[in-house]
Amino acid sequence: MGYLIETVYFLTAALFILGLKRMSHPTTARSGIVWAGYGMVLATLVSFVHPQITAHIIPANYVLMVIAIAIGGAIAWYGAKKVAMTAMPQMIAIYNGMGGGAAAAIAAVELLKDHGSHAAAPATSVLIMAVAGALIGAVSFSGSVVAFGKLQELKFFKDDAKFRFSGQQKVNMVIFASAVLLGLVVAVSHSTSGGLISVFFLLALAFGAMMALPIGGADMPVVISLFNAFTGLAVALEGFVLGNSAMIIAGIIVGSSGTLLTLMMAKAMNRSVSNVLFSNWAALGSGEAQAVTGSLKPMEPPDAAIQMAYASKVIIVPGYGMAVAQAQHKIWEMCKLLIERDVVVKFAIHPVAGRMPGHMNVLLAEAGVPYDLIFDMDEINEEFSTADVALVIGANDVVNPAARTDKSSPIYGMPILNVDHAKNVQVIKRGKGVGFAGIENALFFADNTRMVYGDAQKVAAGMIQGIKDLG
């Protein structure tokens, strides 16, 4: 039986690796997840006859296993199928948290197990890995739940400032240090005391929540990505504890790729990961921000549409406002009308537009925008100077020229889309408020900028009408 298990786990690991490889190219991405899915199904099925279980079969456990898979799978399936595309980031957060929780649960069972009567008691080094996996998994669990709450905009999590207090870093460090210390005590003393282990888990869970609570919604993508890497690491550690090769390999791959992705995302925001975790926008802006001069010049959607209809090149810059208004379908409908009139339409995506890298791409793909009309910042930034119109839809900080010029600005140094280089700029915006970073945007006051106020979907509908009226 051992050979069967190991063979299937080997196949699963290969399918995961090839699947991820395929997922890293747009044309093969769709098949990649299917390959990985087959791997998962195979590994799950064969694990019912895992020798570690079949050595002492307890029938009730099989019943529990099937019930748990049915309930967990059904809830997750329902959630994943029903949720709106805009809510995808928080769904990733919550499923990631579940993985972390599962890793912590494995560790809990291993730690509580009374090996007194068995001959093969685990070595201290194995218990240390179990404890480390438990700590990381629990942190990922509670942190991801907080991230979910924040992105879902649940009332309790809404006010980031509420969770900030002086000496917070020190309090968090004390909680973390006590969790580590207690974990080491449990591992070294081979203690199976329920009380000690419960306190350890409570401390770990508290640390995860405390770490995520003061972080603002704008930084959540980086945090979710970090927790994703954490879960991978926790799974790998528990894999070493159980001697499970599929878990070890999958966990390490996720841990390292997740770490790299986190670094890439932080870099795109021109911030370090520690800066995201241990400070916040509000605390950054030290000096007086440069005064913004000029006035906001409003424009009606039909007039904006006419300007675009007679342009030869339009670059569209979507932001979180488009996601909130679910405007991607209307926007693409409008673009198709423009393309029929021989206007060149391109989409420019800032790496951190929306709430996650690639968030905008997913929404545009959902609306049916071909991916070869969608460009990364580096690919398209030079082109703004040749564009007749740059249409900004609910984006703010990622097009704020202060990032280039204003050293006192909290976003100074962040690479931005050079929207201000376009001949005309149109900005669709719900109101006059400031962006996530809480700062004014000089772009909106520029001479060649017109503000189109309103919900992005309604504005797009008005623009479509405007183009159609031209005949």
């Binding site: 998962m40 296993m65 995808m88 929780g101």
Partner: protein, 100 residues
């Protein structure tokens, strides 16, 4: 000698799998970052397998309860991760034909 090999093989796995994960994501266009994060999120759903083993070995009611929770969460991670990723990737189309 065998003991030495047994000691070192997990370290080799650690190194090679780590490099592999790094390489896989290193050359990915930004447009696939979210789907790929979701994809890796699915891959660590393999934790389900470990949770099944933990529950299978559970003896006391407490161990069974925690094991049950672990399998439930693991299954949620795997199933949810799969369908979220699939839904995102389903939408990638090129402008050259292949309409739904």
């Amino acid at each position: 000698m065998e003991a030495v090999v047994a000691f070192f093989s997990p370290i080799y796995i650690l190194m090679l799998a780590g490099i592999l994960g790094y390489e896989i994501i290193g050359k990915v266009p930004v447009i696939l970052h979210t789907p790929l994060m979701s994809g890796t999120n699915f891959v660590h759903g393999i934790v389900l397998v470990g949770a099944m083993v933990a529950l299978g070995q559970a003896v006391t009611p407490l161990e069974q309860a925690i094991g049950f929770l672990g399998v439930l969460l693991g299954a949620g991670n795997a199933v949810g991760g799969y369908f979220v990723t699939e839904r995102m990737l389903e939408m990638f189309k090129s402008s050259k034909g292949q309409e739904k």
